[in-house]
């Protein structure tokens, strides 16, 4: 039972990492708290659902959803956020408005029913692990989460784009002054972050299902991850995801009525001692 729960926690943490890493990238570089991130997750899930059902291909669903959500993110960034560039609070509240609108569009199209993104055949069903049967798909999510962590690490630490992003997280003004087109860098980062939300939507939509309030649930978990891990830190997002994933999963079993408390209690305590999170740097 405990091993089962631990695997559930780990796979949930992997999903959280995918979603929250996008959130923390945008937050870290652009100082924008994208409250539409949850809505983009859900949108990605729905797009993946439609593509998956029509074509029967999980790969196409993943690619299509990520691309579609990145496009929406690009539109939000270029079309709306640039009007409120100088004011962090207005940016946050604007993304909140975007979230509300996106959710309502989802509701118009998909209604209040629960959907599940179809998974490829070879990932269906359980696998036997030392006398315990565990869903193959959740193991796949766990592996995918680790792979995405590795890919993001390589992107951030081994490519020019990544070093620019890291430099921007530390001091965006200086990067701009050195002749880098920071506006374009911002748009790319925003799109990448949104694509991760869309990717998470497809991954999560296949085992957590898609329903109208799924977005605020994943958003709250992502917020907790980023608050714990600190702004713009990939490692922070990973550790935060693991912490939140385990607390949420075990909390729901042990104290079903106060599951939220179990996550936010430690978060609040951590915040009291480290307001910027475990790996956060002062702005």
């Amino acid at each position: 039972m405990t091993a089962f729960l631990a695997l559930n926690s780990a796979s949930f943490a992997a999903l959280l990492f995918v979603v929250a890493s996008g959130f923390t990238l945008i937050f870290g570089l652009m100082r924008i708290i994208n409250l539409a991130h949850g809505a983009l997750y859900l949108l990605g899930g729905y797009v993946g659902l439609v593509i998956g059902v029509r074509t029967g291909s999980f790969t196409l669903a993943v690619v299509g959803a990520s691309a579609a959500v990145a496009l929406v993110g690009c539109l939000v960034d270029v079309g709306l956020l640039r009007f409120v560039k100088d004011n962090a609070l207005r940016q946050v509240l604007l993304t909140l408005g975007v979230a509300i609108v996106l959710d309502d569009i989802d509701l118009v199209i998909f209604g209040g029913d629960t959907f599940t993104v179809p998974v490829p055949e070879f990932l269906e069903g359980p696998v036997s692990l030392g006398g315990m049967y565990y869903p193959k798909y959740r193991l796949f999510v766990l592996v995918a989460g680790v792979a995405i962590y590795a890919a993001l690490w390589l992107l951030l630490n081994r490519t020019r784009l990544g070093s620019l992003i890291r430099a921007g997280v530390d001091d965006a003004e200086m990067v701009d002054a050195m002749g880098v087109d920071i506006k374009r860098l911002f748009v790319y980062t925003f799109m990448l972050g949104c694509a991760l939300a869309g990717l998470g939507g497809v991954m999560g939509g296949a085992f957590l299902t898609l329903y109208p309030t799924a977005d605020s649930e994943i958003l709250v978990f992502s917020l907790a991850v980023v608050i714990i891990g600190g702004r713009g830190s990939l490692l922070g997002a990973a550790i935060g995801s693991i912490l939140v994933g385990f607390l949420a999963t075990f909390g729901q079993v042990w104290f079903p009525e106060f599951a939220y408390f179990v996550i936010f209690g430690p978060m609040a305590i951590l915040l009291a001692f480290r307001p910027l999170g475990l790996f956060g740097k002062a702005a």
Partner: protein
Amino acid sequence: MGTRLNWLVTIAVLAGLAAVPFFVGTYKTTLASQMLIFAILAMSIDVLAGFAGRTTLCHGAIFGVSTYVVLYLTSIDASSPWLAAVLGILAATLVAAIFAILAIRTAGVYFLLLTLALGMIIWGICLRWTSVTGGENGIRSTIRPDWLLDSANFYYFTLAIFVVLAFAMWRFVNSPFGLSLQGIRESETRMRALGYNVSLHLFIGFTISGFFAGAAGALYAFFNGFVSPTTVALGQSVAALLMAIVGGVGTLFGGLVGSIMVTAVQDIVSVYTDRWSMLLGLMFIGAMVFAPEGILGKIRTMLASRAAQARPAGTPPNQQRR
């Protein structure tokens, strides 16, 4: 703006508000009561957002805590709704104090983020703690005494409370303590250097603002007689914040203007479409892009620029009357 003009506007608005039940039917009177209740909530947010510079997204939840407590207590023992109201406001104030301890350490977007998360905890508890909160079904309880059943009577009751609370908030933000909050909004380090205990001031400001939100929540319990997780959900905080923003953050009475406008739009639109929430989102985006200073804020800027001796830039505005 001269003091006399302020008094004239205040009296005219009060007379206008008092005359509402004479000119409109039962339904519109009820709607007007709702506007006043949410005006209190929006103004309580403005106390914090406009004067202490801390925009919150948990006041809807604090408001809802009070509503939940009042309706829960009266559903057990219906004999004393007033005691329930007092306890509801106390509970909301207590929750606000706890939130304040955690949240005042942060500022700006971090504050927004943290208050959002704190508000979500309340929502999560109300949704899951079914044995007390009734989960999705919520709590229904008839608590209005007989003399409040009439919509006009209830409106005057609400108006009386609104006037008292609005006056109290206005006194609060213009008191020396309120000015210290404005000082913190302008520059925390400077206030600290001047010897103010910034954390303590923010804590008190947050708690008092939560008290007002709780008072609005208790009133809402009398108004609605029903509460469900929607009342404490993020949407509630967002809608109330939108009211404060539409009216004008930092104007206090903008909360009333915003509440009247947003509630009216909601009422008119609901006749034609179910897509109220999409419209709320679009209004939010529009307000952020086009009119971040709000209606009263705009009027104030216009009046200020018309005045021959404009204040030097950066001076905190001190006259928050209509």
